[in-house]
């Protein structure tokens, strides 16, 4: 049950009746009695909320920053017309518009209400309950009730580094022998023989084949294909740190998506593992890697626990049976690397190639360059100390044969993609 503003207004007007016409208990009784009668009548004559049937339809996923449209159909199966308001409640970060709808559904009919969601955070947004206030014919009071009409809209990572994809794909085609310029590398595979055209590298002339044929033949090469990539996202404590506008995890995801998109175009298989103390997300052997990656990443949130690096290494080993490029998106924390990663590295490196990608903080570089007063100089000292530690860790990993990419947020995705292309060109996968 719920009252309306009209009841309060009538009661206020009733003050005139009581004050001027019928001062005394009798007046109060008359006014209150009339109001109570109206309220009871309204409650009796309002359409039942419980008997309504509600259904949802519309978008189930949306890229962060775009709009999703979700419909709600209200079917009034009762004998009385439904009049009132409906609140379609969503979590605040789903940012629904509008939240409240005015309802007027005649008996036996259905109405479709549409709301647009513009999620402000990545992840799953589950619709909360739908509350309906069905007001009686006098507009004095109404019945109120809720329905749970389940619906989930998944806000996918925005993949802002998409803009770097075309240039990296062009580089990939350069590697691929499809362009006139042939790139010969140690690890490229022999593809085919064709006639020499001007501009070809003379070193690639196959003299034996030229002797057999009447023309000069050159060998063409293509980069390795069907390699395995395992993208490993560290969702532990360090990934929660905010660098610039986004947590480290989001930047890592962006870079992982660019790398995944690039690698799948290059004909490599891409798998994903998200780990802190347990497996948070996993993609294995997907035919369409990019949608699978995006979907798996969407609900990931940083966990405030120290990552179990040994567990992560064993999870990687369990997943990657063939020789793979393992890309670890993690922090370059001296303690975590020395205690967790270094002991596990030998077993990892024995079978796989390892690339560690880490988000550097531009704020630290800014602090390191600060001069002028006491505060600035001490900040510079602290920042230099942090950078030295990072450099030491990076050198330590490098010496073991791990490729390290340490870049500020906006440069991490292209840097990781470039490193991948360099490894591929060199046939190191």
């Amino acid at each position: 049950m719920a009252l309306t503003g009209r009841t309060a207004l009538l009661a206020a007007l009733g003050a005139l009746v009581v004050g001027l016409a019928l001062p005394g208990w009798s007046g109060l009784l008359v006014v209150e009695g009339a109001l109570a009668l109206g309220v009871v009548l309204d409650l009796a004559l309002a359409a039942s909320v419980r008997g309504l049937r509600l259904e949802r339809s519309g978008d189930t996923s949306v890229r962060l920053g775009r709009e999703a449209t979700v419909h709600l159909v209200v079917h009034n199966r009762g004998p009385r017309a439904l009049r009132g308001i409906l609140r379609d409640a969503w979590p605040p970060s789903a940012a629904p518009d509008p939240v409240r709808h005015t309802l007027a559904v005649p008996s036996g009919e259905r109405r479709r209400l549409t709301a647009t969601l513009r999620p402000t955070r990545r992840g799953d947004r589950r619709a909360s309950r739908v509350t309906i206030r069905s007001v009686g014919p006098l507009g004095l009071a109404g019945r109120q009730g809720s329905h749970d009409v389940g619906w989930t809209v998944r806000a996918l990572p925005p993949f802002t580094s998409r803009k770097h994809l075309p240039s990296r794909l062009a580089r990939l085609r350069e590697l691929d022998g499809r362009t006139a310029m042939l790139v010969r590398g140690q690890g490229t595979e022999f593809d085919s023989l064709r006639e020499y055209v001007r501009g070809d590298d003379v070193r690639s002339i196959d003299w034996r084949a030229s002797a057999r044929a009447s023309d000069v033949m050159v060998r063409t090469w293509r980069p390795e294909r069907d390699r395995h990539l395992l993208l490993v996202l560290d969702t532990g404590r360090t990934s929660a740190g905010r660098v610039g506008d986004a947590p480290r995890l989001d930047t890592a995801m962006d870079a992982a998506l660019l790398l995944g998109a690039l690698a799948s175009r290059a004909g490599d298989r891409v798998d994903l593992l998200a780990y802190d103390r347990a497996v948070r997300a996993s993609v294995t052997g997907a035919r369409e890697p990019l949608p699978a990656l995006v979907n798996a990443m969407a609900p990931l949130e940083p966990e405030l626990v120290e990552t179990d690096v040994r567990g992560m290494v064993s999870a990687v080993l369990a997943r990657a049976s063939r020789r793979s490029l393992v890309v670890l998106f993690t922090g370059l924390d001296a303690a975590a690397v020395e205690e967790g990663l270094l002991p596990g590295l030998p077993s990892l490196l024995k079978r796989h190639r390892v690339l560690v990608a880490s988000v550097a903080d531009p704020r630290v570089a800014e602090m390191a360059a600060a001069r002028g007063d006491t505060v600035a100089v001490y900040e510079a000292a602290a920042a230099e100390r942090a950078r030295t530690e990072r450099r030491t860790v990076a050198r330590l990993l490098d010496r073991r044969g791990v490729t390290v990419v340490d870049a500020p947020p906006e440069q991490l995705a292209p840097a990781v993609a470039d490193t991948y292309l360099a490894l591929k060109a060199a046939g190191l996968l």
């Binding site: 009252l3 609140r87 979590p91 230099e384």
Partner: protein, 384 residues
Amino acid sequence: MTSLHRDTGAVWRAGRTPVLIGLLLLLTGVLIGVLSGRTEPGFLDPTAADDTGSRALAALLRDEGTRVDIAGTAAEIRSAGPGTTVLVPFPARLAPRQLQAVRESAADIVVVAPGQEVVSALAPPVEVTTLSGPVEVRDPACDLPAAVRAGRVELGGELYRGGVGCYPSEGGAALVQVTGAPADAPADAAGGRTTTVLGSPDILVNSTLAEEGNAALALALLGENPRLLWFLPILEGPAVGAERSLTELVAPGWPWGAAQLAVAALLLIVWRARRLGPVVTEPLPVVVRSAEAVEGRARLYRRTGAAAHAAEVLRGATRARLAPVLGLPDTAGPDPVVAGVAARTGRPAAGVHALLYGPAPVDDAALIALADALDACETEVRRS
């Protein structure tokens, strides 16, 4: 342009319409005030010398030995006893309390063009018969001594019936006189007072005072007693002791009305308090600024005054950056670094050694100077 500050032009554009409307209203008000004030600056005012004033009459009365005073409040009227004439030129402007004072006064009363309400209060038997009769020269046609002495005068305006009527026309008399106070007036209003009602003010104003017998009639009516109170009422507040409390002024049922209002307020609360479903909560991700640990360490250095440690860190960082520039390994000792820097910059080797490997600074000022010196040295090496 993300600033929300509005420049003066925008403020003016937004505000000019209301300002102009306000100015127009003010101007209109001033004009109306000035023009209307100019129409009758001193109508029936005993000090005004223009056409519609009455200074001539007041002067004549004074010459005849009558004291002419201007009264403004009810209290002054009440204090006037017998032997005084009260002239009420603007009966319509009287406040109820002032009218009451006139009515209860023991003095003779001359009232100019009163409406029915005032007439009933001051001279009950008289009635208004015509609201605007012709103002013309009339014959007395009665045996009122003042009228008989004055002869023909210009009168008219409102016409009355009842009492002793003079200067009559078809609609009624332009001057009536009643002797005695109203029946319900207090006893101290002596029975001998006369109340004279004039239909128009023409016999009193400067411009027409000299016509016919106007002046004679006016002098006879107003100069009868040794004192004349010219009543030009001013706005008065309620007299002391006559205030009534708020509860006496509102309707008697107000406590019950208030009780009903309380019920309405309760219903209002019930209406607003009922939510349309519960608040939706949402677990928010933790947000930690990544550089916070570094900033914390900087504050720690500063609080403990770790100038020596900070200097060593800065020197180490500079050496690490200079080594590749000089073509040396990271692990190079002091001597090759100092020699390299000295060779590249032309600085004395001792100075370079003091800068890169010298003693720790003694205080913060020295540390700041050291940091700047390290920067300068590094720039020099890179430029050479």
